[in-house]
Each structure stands twice: as structure tokens, then as C-alpha cells.
């Protein structure tokens, strides 16, 4: 691979990394060579504060990413019903 294809989305929230909690304003999402995970290609998410400061980074397999998407949607569905 080795593309520069990156999906960027604005988000409102917080993340905790090595420096503690901070606001995050965007997520950069891409499927390419990871830096650390033992995978040829990984779904990577960089949680950003501003355009250039990466607060938290995760790399996971495509299967894990799809499972995570399903979990997020399921949690939203049940949680929003509970708190409606």
C-alpha cells in the first residue's frame, strides 16, 4: 500500500493519553502500514487536538475495526434509548 488516503472528521470530546486528559477536535482515519501493530495493514485512528497535535493513536486489524464500529453503533443505540 503506501497511500496518503486519510479520512478526516471533526469530533467533540476528550481523550486521555500519556499527558493526561485533553480535548480532541478531530479524528484522522486510514488503512495503511502501521507503525507498531504486527500487521501488514492496520486501521489507524489518530485523535487530534487541532490539525497537527496527535493526542492518542490506535492501530488495529480490519476485523477489529469492523467489530469496534458495530460495538459503537450498538452502544449508541442502547444508550440513547436508555437516556431518551
Amino acid at each position: 500500500m503506501c497511500s496518503y488516503i486519510t479520512e478526516k472528521t471533526e469530533i467533540f470530546g476528550s481523550a486521555k493519553g500519556a499527558g493526561g486528559w485533553s480535548n480532541v477536535t478531530a479524528a484522522h482515519v486510514y488503512f495503511d502500514h502501521p507503525f507498531h501493530a504486527s500487521l501488514d495493514h492496520a486501521l489507524s485512528i489518530d485523535f487530534m487536538s487541532g490539525d497537527t497535535t496527535r493526542k492518542v493513536a490506535v492501530e488495529m486489524s480490519a476485523e477489529s475495526a469492523r467489530a469496534l464500529v458495530a460495538s459503537i453503533l450498538a452502544a449508541l443505540e442502547t444508550g440513547e434509548k436508555e437516556h431518551a
Binding site: M1, C2, S3, Y4, T6, K8, H28, Y30, D32, H33, P34, F35, H36, S38, L39, D40, D46, M48, D51, T52, R54, A57
Partner: protein
């Protein structure tokens, strides 16, 4: 002959537009003379594997340097700077070529240099190697390891940072070229390797391509599932032989 003793350190080179760029430099112990090699790191950044590859070439008798392509985006760890580079759409081809020129000048200025300088790059660095070898004078041997996007099938992939498909610069290539590719790779695909080979032939260039069955992209990466031990061992031997022939 191999060299068990070596000196490895961080140095500063004068890169594009006179800017200072940090680089990892390893060379065998002793007075030399030693041929030089500029190693261009892959897209994930100036990482530990890059340093290992530099030392591997030093062990084989080459003074090898790898500059940090994302240095200007710092300060930060190599992986954070690689993420910044990605978010910015990569680094510009002009900047890459300017930095490579500076790294070549650094090698030739060292007291142990034999005056010859080769280049090698992996992944996006393979593309950079082809690009810089077409645009710069003084490259004595170039090694493109599975460089993607040398052939650009979709013109919308060309950007302000990378405005030209490197294959369109083939006329400018003066150095002999070694290419290593995995037949299971998708970028470059075997068809794209065919296209590049046809262009090199048409332009009358000196080249040597080796295509490996059972290997995909980045099959030298010993810490990744992509690693293919037999193909990688053979590939490294091809690199050493190519440099010993052209950089002696």
C-alpha cells in the same frame, strides 16, 4: 567481506534550500575507502527498521546514511511526525530531491569516501529513489524496493506535492537500476512493474528486475507478517552484489 566494527550516529546534513536535516549515519570502522549509500525510509517514518537497514549496509562495507524526511514537521517522535506528514498529504517531491542531494554531498565529503554513491529506498522510499535518480546527477547505482506510485494509473492521484508520475521522468535516469518486487503486491502491482520495465527498455536504460513469487509488499520487514525469509535473504544478496558491481 563484512565489517563487524562500525560507527553509527546522528548527524546533520544540509538539505533542500540549505535547511538542516537530521540523519542516521553508519559506516564501517577503519579508513576505507568505502562507497556511500543514501537510504530513503518508508512512509511509516524514520523508524527502528530504517536504522537496522542502515547498519546492515554498513556491515556489508557501505557508508550508509538515512535522513529524516519528516524532520521539518518536528519536534516529535518519528511516528508522530509520520502521522503529521500523512495528515499534510505527504512531503513534496522537490523537498525529497533536495534532501537526497544534500545526503549525497555529505557522503562524498567524508574522508573515507571512495567517491561513489548509491541510493536505496523502500515502499514510498522506492518511489523517491526512482524520482531522485531521474532528477539528480551523480547517482552511481539505484535500488528501488517495491516503490509504489512510480506508475500512476489514475491522474487524480497527482497532487501539488507530487505533480509528476516518476515514470514520466525515466529519460533522465543515468544510474543502473535494481528493482525488487513481490508478485503479490498491489502497489506496485505486477502489471505496473511490467509498465515500468517496458518504459526502461524503451528508453534504453540499464536495469535489473527481480520479481518474487510468494511475496507481497515490504517483504524485507522482519517484524511484520509480510516478511518472507527466503525472498528477503535473496533480495539483500542482490542488493549487495549490485552495489559491489557498480560502487566499487
Amino acid at each position: 567481506m563484512t565489517y563487524r566494527g562500525m560507527i553509527a550516529e546522528i548527524v546533520t546534513i544540509t538539505g533542500n534550500k540549505g535547511e538542516k536535516v537530521e540523519a542516521y549515519y553508519a559506516r564501517p570502522s577503519g579508513p576505507g575507502p568505502f562507497p556511500g549509500v543514501v537510504l530513503i525510509h518508508h512512509m511509516p517514518g524514520w523508524d527502528d527498521w530504517t536504522m537496522e537497514a542502515v547498519r546492515k549496509l554498513a556491515h556489508q562495507g557501505f557508508a550508509c546514511i538515512s535522513h529524516h524526511l519528516y524532520h521539518r514537521l518536528g519536534p516529535g517522535t518519528p511516528d508522530d511526525l509520520a502521522a503529521k506528514a500523512r495528515a499534510a498529504g505527504g512531503v513534496s517531491d522537490d523537498e525529497v530531491v533536495g534532501d537526497v542531494k544534500g545526503a549525497m554531498a555529505f557522503l562524498r565529503a567524508q574522508p573515507g569516501s571512495n567517491g561513489k554513491v548509491g541510493m536505496i529506498g523502500f515502499c514510498s522510499g522506492g518511489r523517491h529513489t526512482f524520482l531522485a535518480s531521474c532528477r539528480l546527477e551523480g547517482v552511481d547505482a539505484a535500488v528501488n524496493c517495491w516503490g509504489g506510485n512510480v506508475v500512476v494509473d489514475d491522474p487524480t492521484q497527482l497532487t501539488a506535492l507530487r505533480p509528476v508520475a516518476p515514470i514520466d521522468l525515466t529519460d533522465g535516469l543515468k544510474a543502473p537500476l535494481l528493482g525488487l518486487f513481490g508478485n503479490e503486491d498491489k502497489n506496485p502491482s505486477p502489471a505496473q512493474v511490467d509498465t515500468l520495465e517496458a518504459k526502461l527498455k524503451a528508453c534504453g536504460k540499464q536495469y535489473e528486475f527481480h520479481r518474487y513469487d510468494g511475496a507481497g509488499h515490504a517483504f524485507f520487514a522482519a517484524e511484520r507478517p509480510a516478511y518472507r525469509v527466503e525472498q528477503a535473504n535473496d533480495g539483500w544478496q542482490k542488493v549487495y552484489a549490485f552495489y559491489r558491481k557498480h560502487l566499487a
